[in-house]
Symmetry: C2
Subunit: 253 residues, 2 copies
């Protein structure tokens, strides 16, 4: 069974067998991290890139008053800090939620990948751009949808993203977040998060039992949430126009 990392990147680029082999090599030396540990803290200037292979992590910022805002959920196959070599220092932290398997890829390895593997470079670009698209959709969600729709929307997104890496079946997946963490993601109070989940359960839109989320009727939940998967850009781009490009061209914005 291929790594979720490769499964994910294949949604954004047409990897060759050689690309896949190279990526498997890169992910050879893994590391286990327990749940609720910082991988990177705000202000750090890490050298190299972290990649989640198993488990769930999050990007977060702490506010003056001690509240925590979670701005992204990192699933298997997601990069933590692909940008840091350019920006200089982290403007947010990254912490595990569940126990995680993590790879650290040295900077020179990333450079080698992007120099010699055009399609991998394209895939990395694609991954950051999808992260940005998710951020935009979360922003819309936060501003325009009420607590129940926002929650439903997140559950739809997680279903699709986990399916893309082979970690969800047709209508259910493991949900590692506590209600407190969900509240930090969705910017709700814990109390209201609890009530919102109850109301979704009562409406028979979701079932949530021992850390597993089941969606009895996926289309109904999507309809309720106003969810469309377009922003996840999981359909492979048409590459007919890209035939015969040189290496570097494929990595261009």
């Amino acid at each position: 069974m291929p790594s979720p990392f490769i499964l994910k990147l294949q949604h954004g680029a047409h990897l060759t067998d050689a690309d896949r082999v190279r990526l498997e090599e890169v992910c050879a030396h893994t590391r286990q991290v327990g749940s609720r540990h910082d991988l990177i803290q705000e202000g750090d200037q890490p050298d190299g890139v972290h990649l989640i292979l198993e488990g769930v992590a999050c990007r977060y910022k702490m506010l003056q008053d001690g509240r925590r805002s979670i701005m992204a959920l990192l699933l298997p196959g997601d990069f933590c800090d692909l940008h840091i070599a350019i920006l200089g220092e982290m403007d947010h932290g990254i912490a595990t939620i569940s126990p995680c398997t993590v790879v650290r890829i040295a900077r020179h390895t990333v450079e080698e990948l992007t120099q010699h593997h055009a399609e991998i470079t394209r895939a990395l670009w694609w991954a950051t751009l999808v992260d940005e698209a998710i951020l935009r959709e979360w922003l819309v969600s936060m501003g325009q949808r009420g607590a129940d729709q926002r929650t439903a929307h997140l559950f739809c997104e997680l279903l699709v993203r986990l399916q893309a890496v082979g970690l969800a079946d047709a209508n259910s997946y493991p949900l590692w977040l506590t209600q407190g963490e969900l509240a930090d993601v969705l910017a709700l109070s814990i109390v209201h998060m609890n009530r919102t989940l109850q109301s979704l359960r009562e409406a028979n839109l979701i079932e949530l039992d021992r850390r597993r989320l089941t969606i009895p009727d996926v289309e109904r939940l999507k309809g309720f949430a106003g969810f469309t998967a377009r922003y996840l850009h999981l359909a492979k781009p048409d590459r007919s126009a890209a035939r015969g490009r040189s290496l570097n061209e494929a990595g261009v914005p």
Copy 2:
């Protein structure tokens, strides 16, 4: 006086004189667009890249019920769609707010830039990553700050971003948005946007007169908003570790 575009990129990379000349060339053929016009619509697959040279534009999504969510404000020097060649099609639209001067840069020109100008490539990477950082901060703002703090935070951000391209003085700048547009940015109703502006005025945190925003005490407004400019990454990264890199390496994540 140098173009705001070059002023902006210099915050993220060390451009040479040759880089600057090349960028000026690229921006030679401008186009005027009136206020409140679409530059790109959701679903478009534009070839090439749009760049704002003068004026203000925005990224937006329309919702089913007709509401509009503005997810980004594009100021002079900002790119509209640096990503589109990778993602395939736009998941949001871009519209002008004020009258704008816009450049369209052909795809092959971008490719030429990134192939032969390492520092420009780095600057383009930097620009997209800062866009992403702004998005994260807006997400925090949307979730955690009330209407008045959120508004104040936006005004602080605009001050710093406009100063970075030479378009704001020490404590004031032209604010082209109507209250209705501000409401779409901040996810408030028009009525509440109006009341929020009044309360900021009454607290003497801002003055707003004929499309010009003046901030009597910048530090006080920043304090009120919980604003720190760190996420804008305007300090140039330390490049001592990057000496002697080959062309492509500088463009690597």
